[in-house]
Amino acid sequence: MGEYLVKRLAQMVPTLLFVSILIFGLQQLLPGDPAKILAGEEQDPSVIAHLRVKLHLDEPLPMRYAYWVGGVLKGDFGESVRTQQPVLELVLQKLPVTIQLGTMAFVIALLIGIPTGIVAAVERGTWWDSAANAVALWGISTPNFWLGILLILLFSVQLGWLPASGYVSPFEDLKANLASMIMPAFVLGNALAAVLMRHTRSAMLQVLSSDYVRTARAKGLSERAVVLKHALRNALTPVITLGALELGTLLSGAVLTEQVFTIPGFGKLIVDSVFNRDYAVVQGVVLVTATAYIVLSLLADVAYFIVNPRLQHG
């Protein structure tokens, strides 16, 4: 286990190094002088001069990268051009909202994706299987911002049951918070449910044809016990692990969902920063996202390693 962990941690180092180069490189895509672009419309010469010094623009590229990465390692992601707030502070402010949205979406995806996947596998080739596959196809083919608009139309405009937009902190009013988050969470969970359904179906099909399931059936156990007690337990491990790796899908989806429902989270921060030409914030958000993904992949791998005894002895 220790050896495996060290190996995986060692693999993370070059990946993080390349991620940092990639994100630093984004700034080089800006056409023209970055200091002039970052200085905004006023083009104040003193601001331009300040930015030039601050961003080390007169120094060679490798030195600029070294300064930037040195700052990042100390937690200095730069500061927002618009609010003058440190980028890390801004990101940490918005993150809890997106974490709540993502967690609710993940739970909804599990509640839809796993049962439909089980039904599709158990009833393979039947009408149920086709229906579950249709649900999955719907999930991966529906743009979530469109689904969001349709749900607003139905539940907010027509029925008046849920608020169309806005966000209330759960610490202020939990009921209002859940009312404002349930639609966005469903929209976000919809696509993930489709992915989980497909993973569950294929994992269940594999497990259901294995020897130990055949033995369980031969012992005379009920089909319900075979499926839910024996097969599902083993099929779920890769599903949960693969599901954890869908963090990227969730975060990408969150950008759009937060935009539709005007939720002040991580996704809205990146979009607002793009339009305010607040490039340091864009870089910060991308860096935090990538790092979170890399760490989560590591945790998912380690979890898979722990629950799979064959890997430990192999």
């Binding site: 990946t15 349709l150 139309l153 963090l247 990227g248 990408s252 990146i270 490039y279 864009v282």
Partner: protein
């Protein structure tokens, strides 16, 4: 006698996928009803895109202050938008941006990803390690977030959105090509081609590449579906096609402000995205089954 001395290296019969298996795969594809429906819908959208100037009932950018947010009627089948433009005509013309983005982005991904993946898988060693870590780095950034960041730094336009989507999707093709090449390069016929004195580039292009194309075709079809959604997403955020040119994503961006007054503005462009993406996904799923090596 040394065979290589007798036979010109390029004359060795390569065990390429021949017309037979491809034709059988096509027949299998056409036997799958969902895939055929998908192909028909894609064909319909291609026809709409090509014939847009002739079949659109109105000019897609012409505004009419007398017809603001009019509900669907005989004059405007899909209704009109916030500045009186015909929604049907904009949906028809919007097909062009979506299809163009899907095809161009995936072509960029293929043009970049396949040679890089081929190099990683075929050369191996340090080149492979370097490319693999770089691919991991790209894959660590969620697809749409990377596309947003790239589009933001490049500047908002349809061309830049296509570049951003294409570059963001490249790592998937690098990884897929590399994995396929690693499997194929140890096959006997590749060893034989090498032993007969073919230069590495010819072995890679003539003997390895033809045998890794099937999964690439499947992935490319599914990637077009993802690229169509990505373009619509970027346009929805204002980073793709710029107004007044029509794009389904930007139409939805405007529509979200008028959901209570003019819901038709949101229904049709969204339905168009859904249908086109669904069609490409159906074709992709059908191709995956039809090109399954166990059946070829």
């Amino acid at each position: 006698m040394d065979m290589a001395a007798v036979l010109p290296a390029h004359d060795v019969a390569p065990p390429r996928a021949q017309a037979g298996p491809w034709r059988r795969a096509l027949r299998r594809l056409l036997r799958r009803r969902p895939a055929v429906v998908g192909l028909a819908v894609v064909g319909l959208f291609i026809a709409l895109a090509l014939l847009a100037p002739w079949i659109a009932p109105h000019d897609p950018v012409a505004t009419s202050w007398g017809a603001i947010r009019k509900a669907p009627s005989v004059a405007h089948w899909f209704g009109t938008d916030d500045i009186g433009r015909d929604v049907l005509s904009r949906v028809i013309f919007g097909t062009r941006a979506s299809l163009l983005a899907g095809v161009v982005s995936v072509s960029i991904s293929l043009l970049l990803g396949v040679p890089i993946g081929l190099a990683a898988g075929f050369i191996g060693g340090l080149v492979d390690a370097l490319i693999s870590r770089l691919t991991d780095a790209f894959l660590a950034v969620p697809f749409l977030i990377l596309a947003i960041a790239l589009a933001a730094f490049l500047g908002p336009s349809l061309t830049n959105a296509m570049i951003a989507i294409g570059v963001s999707a490249t790592p998937i093709f690098v990884r897929l090509t590399r994995a396929q090449v690693i499997n194929v390069k140890v096959e006997d016929y590749v060893e034989a081609a090498r032993a007969l004195g073919n230069p590495p580039w010819r072995v890679a292009i003539r003997h390895v590449m033809p045998n890794v194309t099937a999964p690439l075709i499947v992935q490319a079809t599914l990637a077009i579906a993802a690229a169509v959604i990505a373009e619509a997403s970027l346009s929805f955020l204002g980073l793709g096609q710029q107004p007044p040119e029509p794009s389904w994503g930007s139409m939805l961006n405007t529509a979200k402000n008028y959901v209570d007054q003019a819901p038709w503005m949101a229904v049709w462009p969204g339905l168009a995205i859904f249908l086109l993406v669904l069609a490409f996904n159906l074709v992709g799923d059908g191709l995956r089954d039809a090109l399954d090596p166990r059946q070829l």
